[in-house]
Symmetry: C2
Subunit: 142 residues, 2 copies
DNA sequence: AAAAATACTTGCTAAAGACAACTATTTTTA
DNA sequence: TAAAAATAGTTGTCTTTAGCAAGTATTTTT
């Protein structure tokens, strides 16, 4: 494989990690940890999540996940109900408060992205979205 | 600002974070924490680093950085010498072992990137590098 | 010369996460 | 169908990572 290509990709990764890192840190100022925000996102993105389904995405330690879920329950952001068909399983859904908080986080994340792009002209912004879309498409082909 | 653009960028961030996250985790299996790897990178990238110069890039807690540096010294990966011209300053450089370990990490990171791209054709790889270069250029304009 | 700033360190604490052992339930298999 | 294995989740314990505040030493500013 072309070393030049690898070099270019790694240079991009380094610079982009820093950018995304800053966006993520802004979420940390919202009162939720990154993991909590991710779980909130999972639970709000699909109905009847379970610890297992959440962890298929997040790949955390199960014990740790269990505790974070407990914490989110204690904050009344999610509820957990034992499945009637399989009593090993506990179905998780957001409360109204959880939906609300998630939407706040979502808006915050959008705002951060906007702030990060605001020095670009409108045409450049469209170009950026176009470029990223193409990259995503290339990398999706598994 | 165009909501569609923001949406596209956020979708990209999500998918890319996952990709980079996997690469970073592979480094974690090398026996060094991400922070240690970053410091090793800093110290190997430029001569006579200092805690302050490292932190201009990494932006860690100063106390924590001080301790991680101490740990790397105890592992004989870096050495620290008091500056003769300004005794507040301690100049940091990699040892031979530190240079060696850094090169190992560097190769590992390249390998991971390669693995991640290997399902792409040569033309697609070049296209990817080209797209990422353009994105980086767009975002660099501060 | 005193005050402020810089460079770094240390004590203390909390958060994030890993590992192993455990309960409860369901599925597989011999 | 009873025993074994697998699945889903929890809890105890520990380490790592990191942040905050107060400290030392030195240099710069006033």
């Amino acid at each position: 494989m072309d070393e030049k290509v690898v070099k270019e990709i790694r240079a991009f990764n380094r610079s982009y990690v820093r950018t995304i890192g800053l966006l993520q840190n802004s979420i940390l100022n919202s009162g939720y940890s990154l993991t909590e925000a991710h779980i909130l996102n999972e639970v709000n993105s699909k109905q009847d999540s379970t610890a297992t389904s959440i962890n298929q995405e997040l790949k955390l330690d199960e014990g740790y996940l269990s505790r974070v879920i407990k914490k989110l329950i204690s904050k009344s952001l999610i509820i957990k109900e034992q499945s009637l068909t399989d009593k090993r399983v506990f179905v998780i859904n957001p409360t109204d408060k959880g939906i609300n908080e998630y939407q706040k986080l979502d808006k915050l994340a959008s705002k951060m992205v906007k702030n990060n792009m605001e020095h670009l002209s409108h045409i450049q912004q469209i170009e950026l979205a176009d470029l990223l879309g193409k990259v995503k498409a290339l990398l999706k082909k598994e």
